[in-house]
Amino acid sequence: MRTFAIIVVAALIAIPAAADEKLVQLKKADGLDKVEANCQACHSLDYIPMNSPFPSAALWDAEVTKMIKAFGAPIDEADAKAIADYLKKNYGS
């Protein structure tokens, strides 16, 4: 019971959703865990499919860099690379 409660709390922290925000399911592939762990702290994941599939690899790199440099997203280098790779492979052109 206690374990269950902790899991529920963890889930709530992981997805700080608005009242009626539905889960946005992205393509299951390597790196999705990093995307889910980092990106949705600040924005819902629908931003990604919405901006697809037109971005080149360079544009996805630039977007990840913008999130870190311009918007201050606390993403470490390894995660940033995994996220960019995931976006390029699954939502790029």
């Binding site: 959703a17 946005v24 600040c42 924005h43 901006n51 697809s52 918007f71 606390p74």
Partner: protein, 409 residues
């Protein structure tokens, strides 16, 4: 209403279209469950766009949940005033508090005033009231139609609305604090903020000449009602003629500045290349050699009576819509049924003021098969819409003339 997509998906209709020699759709139709998206948006949008009902709103097209970005479907633009519950929602940052009107304060200050003052909502309402009917259009409206596509919220036609705004003049508010002649800009901050501290807060400024115009106001009413929460309750800035980026929602700080406002949202965000657009209103203190802040809206129009590709009965068809610009006023709207070779004058509807949507209508004679309808609005300083996209990296100012198809069957 039957759309081209529905038509093409029906075997019988498909055969009928082939028989009358119809070509393939001009755009890849983007499929989304229960949503009619604007033609030309990125195909990926189809997997996430949905009709969703926010508190106090009719269904809007959800582009992103958080921050909330929801546009109005085409059908909501059939009246020159957009009802509050049909008005689009646009936020940059996801921490959006419910502001308590009783404890709400606007702090007016900055080095460009003699001394700071604080205003309550009641203080605002006691000041001389001004009403202005004005179009509030997101700078990025139609970004999704950019070709090539550019990154951002991929708006179709619906990131805009026109309302009757009531409030106190920004000039009168600044005068309470004693506006100095050294002031060059007036900046705004709203109660909404970022999810993480390091994200730049959304702060915007306008040149002082625009701030002291008669119809630049701090509005506490929208169409005779308090502002909806998601449109800026209890009060927001109204900058008639200029794009929505300056119309700060939930405004809590107004500062007169003697040096240019900095920050991400002034530069590099919300900028257009210098000299690319035929704009009169300039924001000189923020200009550099390459870019300048977006200012007034370009002249534009939208067909609201028919979606691209719908079927009509051959014979007389009344096509109608809205036209608007940056506040010079619409002088004419022309319609072409031969893709721009010849033009006819549309009839203009009620004039609700130079900042408002101007309704127009045009009776055309539809034939069996493919009919095209192209629209071009002109304003009172002689500016018209463009036939080719003026590409810019942020996808702003898309006023390419629509050219829709009506299928006579």
């Amino acid at each position: 209403m039957i759309t081209r997509r529905h038509l093409l998906g029906t075997a019988g209709a498909g055969a009928a279209l082939t028989a009358i020699g119809l070509s393939l759709p001009k755009f890849t139709e983007v499929e989304a469950a229960g949503v009619e998206l604007s033609p030309g948006v990125p195909t990926g949008l189809g997997s996430v766009a949905a009709m969703e009902t926010l508190p106090g709103k009719k269904p809007l097209i959800k582009l992103s949940y958080r921050p909330p970005n929801y546009e109005s479907p085409l059908e909501y633009f059939r009246t020159p005033i957009t009802p509050n519950d049909q008005f689009f929602v646009r936020y940059h940052l996801s921490d959006i508090p419910n502001v308590d009107a009783n404890t709400y304060r606007i702090k007016v200050g900055g080095e460009g005033v003699n001394g700071p003052v604080e205003l309550t909502l009641d203080d605002l309402k006691k000041m001389p009231a001004v009403e202005v009917i004005a179009v509030n259009q997101c700078s990025g409206n139609r970004r999704g139609l950019s070709n090539p596509h550019v990154a951002g919220v991929e708006w179709g036609y619906g990131a805009m609305g026109c309302a009757r705004w009531k409030g106190a003049r920004l000039k009168d508010i600044l005068d309470k604090a004693g506006l100095k002649k050294e002031a060059i800009e007036v900046s705004f901050n709203g109660a909404d903020g970022p999810a993480v501290d390091k994200t730049p807060d959304f702060i915007k400024s306008i040149p002082v000449w625009k701030a002291v115009e008669e119809s630049t106001i701090v509005a506490y009413e929208m169409n005779g009602q308090p502002l909806p929460h998601l449109n800026g309750f209890p009060a927001r800035i109204i900058v008639p003629g200029w794009t929505g980026t300056y119309w700060m929602k939930h405004v809590i700080a107004i500062n007169a500045l003697t040096t240019p406002q900095g920050g991400f949202w002034m530069n590099p965000a919300y900028r257009v290349p210098v000299g690319k657009f035929p704009l009169v209103a300039r924001f000189i203190s923020q200009e550099n050699a390459a870019s300048t802040p977006i200012t007034e809206m370009v002249v534009n129009s939208l067909i609201t009576s028919h979606r691209d590709g719908v079927t009509v009965k051959p014979g007389k068809v009344a096509v109608s819509g809205m036209a608007w610009d940056g506040g010079y006023g619409i002088s004419s709207v022309q319609v072409s049924t031969d893709s721009g070779k010849t033009w006819g004058m549309a009839t203009l509807g009620q004039d609700l003021g130079r900042y408002a949507f101007r309704p127009w209508s045009f009776d055309l004679s539809a034939k069996r098969g493919w009919n095209t309808v192209m629209v071009n609005a002109t304003n009172k300083i002689g500016q018209s819409q463009t036939s080719e996209l003026i590409f810019n990296p942020a996808g702003y100012h898309n006023n390419v003339m629509q050219n829709i198809a009506l299928v006579g069957v």
